[in-house]
């Protein structure tokens, strides 16, 4: 696992539960710090996946960020109050559009 002594002063919500984050880090980094390794299931087989490359290349850290699915969480800096949800399989753009 990955840990740190200072959990940071920013609060984001993962699946509704608050987790602490450091200003300037990515959402994926904050999730790893909170011990959350799996952020989505694949649309191909439903297998769980989580951050792998942390540099925007692998597209495995996709999650729903503030209602928008398929977001590369390793490229998005944390913001106070941000809502993150797991992405289950294919992204439902029709539901996002209706929201």
């Amino acid at each position: 696992m990955l840990t740190r002594p200072d959990p940071g002063s920013v609060t984001i919500l993962f699946e509704g539960a608050p987790i602490r984050a450091r200003a300037g880090e990515s959402v994926a980094s904050a999730l790893l710090a909170a011990g959350i390794l799996a952020v989505r299931t694949t649309p191909v087989s439903g297998a769980p996946r989580g951050p792998f490359c942390m540099m925007g290349a692998c597209f495995d850290c996709l999650a729903v960020v503030d209602g928008v699915g398929g977001v590369q969480t390793c490229l998005v800096p944390v913001r106070e109050g941000m809502r993150i949800e797991r992405q289950h399989g294919a992204r439902d753009v029709a539901a996002e559009d209706a929201a």
Binding site: M1, G24, A38, F52, C53, M54, A57, F59, P77
Partner: protein, 459 residues
């Protein structure tokens, strides 16, 4: 927007090029998808305390770049570069574009994929990924964290992690021992740049002092149900199983060729580094008149070489745009070229010592993470007559997912080559097309509507 020079990537090469180009009066636009300058190696350098001279030099380079007057856009993901110089990117959910007389691509490297059984499980990441988490989030490894593979970054990360208070369960060295013997032949030349060798020795010593087990291993597997639970490997002729909370893989880095490939720039196989790279001349110019490449994306040389290449490329571009005479360009470039040659003297030694691992995946090992295509499926397609990665893509969907083959390109080519019994450079790699990064249909559609508004219908 119109600029003299658009630079893609704000790592050591891009930053140095922007600063140099501004010094010669060029208007410069720098685009980077990260939130701050520094690239991989200097990631979050402005937010961290300098630990050594190298950090201080990096901070100085970023300061000079910030003060240079170059327009820098972060969180800007470039998805298309046209040969005539138009650059398209996405920024805060909007597609934008700029016209540049010259484009410098400084997009660095990605880690060479190391496909092992179970590498798609949550809890398996790359060493580079853990290093980014360390630099940007202060995250250190703790309890049952294993590192496996080979390469200088593996050593560097392990040392950095320990220095930051982390704990590592062990390093599994997957390199074949013959590399060490062959590397010795290149040692005399490498002594021209002794600092690289000194650092390597210091890293190994730091690991030994910290009591991190260093195990020569093979046939590593990641296992677990919904996430990584344990690793299994062969060492000293026996199979070992160890609990693992995190497994970090590494097998060196290779140039990111997405943009140069999509542009149709000429590429050449680098036998020493076992990878494709764009063809460049001493100024970094590609086979396209308006496109240049600097930094590790043109061949891996490290941060110091990247920064020098960035400055050299900027001098070449300034001269090409008539802002600098050829004599002035040459005299400014002479010391940079000499310094670059000195740094590069160590490469044959390092490239041999850290030769990439052979790719011999079992049939049920996933190669294409996006489409979940296994090595066995790739082998079946070769048996059906696929000679290269493109027909293979059609037959298996490998490389068709959102990463566009970044995670499977080299290993798919290696498996095809092995099946066909030909050298890997004879296997045609994935043909790439823009957009090289995903953007939404809405963003793209807005570009059309914008154009419609500018050009009323004549019909």
């Amino acid at each position: 927007m119109r600029v003299d020079l658009a630079i893609i990537g704000a790592g050591p090469a891009g930053i140095a090029a922007a600063t140099e180009a501004r010094a010669h009066g060029l208007s410069v636009l720098v685009l980077d998808e990260n939130p701050a300058p520094g690239g991989r190696i200097w990631q979050a350098i402005e937010a961290r305390a300098a630990k050594d001279d190298e950090d201080r030099a990096a901070q100085e380079a970023v300061r000079a770049f910030r003060a240079s007057g170059a327009e820098a856009r972060f969180g800007a993901t470039v998805w298309c570069v046209e040969p005539e110089g138009r650059v398209y990117w996405s920024e805060q959910g909007r597609a934008r574009d700029a016209e540049a007389t010259q484009v410098l691509i400084a997009t660095g490297t990605t880690e060479r994929p190391l496909p092992i059984p179970g590498w798609t499980l949550p809890g398996v990441m790359t060493v580079g990924a853990a290093q980014i988490a360390l630099k940007t989030g202060g995250l250190v490894p703790d309890r049952d964290v294993w590192i496996a593979g080979q390469g200088p970054l593996l050593l560097l990360y392990a040392t950095q992690a320990l220095a930051a208070g982390g704990r590592i369960a062990g390093v599994l060295d997957l390199a074949e021992p013959s590399g060490r013997r062959r590397a010795l032949a290149h040692l005399p030349a490498a002594l021209r740049a002794p600092s690289y060798l000194a650092r390597g020795v210091a890293w190994r010593l730091a690991l030994r002092r910290a009591g991190v087990p260093w195990i020569r291993a093979a046939e590593i597997r990641a296992e677990g149900a919904a996430r990584l639970e344990r690793i299994r490997f062969v060492a000293d002729g026996a199979v070992h199983t160890r609990p693992a909370s995190l497994l970090l893989l590494h097998d060196g880095v290779i140039p990111s060729v997405q943009i140069t490939r999509a542009l149709g720039c000429a590429h050449v196989w680098d036998e020493a580094q076992r990878c494709w790279k764009p063809t460049t001349d001493m100024w970094g110019r590609s086979s396209h008149a308006r496109i240049a490449i600097a930094g590790d994306g043109a061949g891996v040389g490290g941060a110091a070489v990247a920064a020098l290449s960035g400055r050299i490329a900027a001098l070449g571009i300034a001269a090409a745009l008539g802002r600098l005479g050829e004599a002035a360009r040459d005299s400014a470039a002479a010391p940079l070229l000499a310094a670059r040659a000195k740094h590069l003297a160590v490469r044959p030694f390092l490239d041999t010592l850290f030769a990439p691992l052979p790719i011999r995946p079992e049939d049920d090992t996933i190669l294409c993470r996006c489409e979940e295509v296994t090595a066995g499926r790739v082998r079946e397609a070769v048996a059906l007559g696929c000679l290269g990665a493109n027909q293979l893509k059609s037959f298996t969907r490998a490389g068709m997912g959102p990463c566009q083959g970044r995670m499977c390109g080299p290993s798919v080519a290696a498996v095809i080559a092995a099946e066909r019994g030909v050298p890997v450079q004879e296997v045609e790699p994935y043909r790439l097309r823009f957009p090289t990064k995903p953007l939404t249909l809405g963003e793209l559609a807005a570009l059309h509507e914008q154009e419609e508004a500018l050009e009323p219908h004549t019909s």
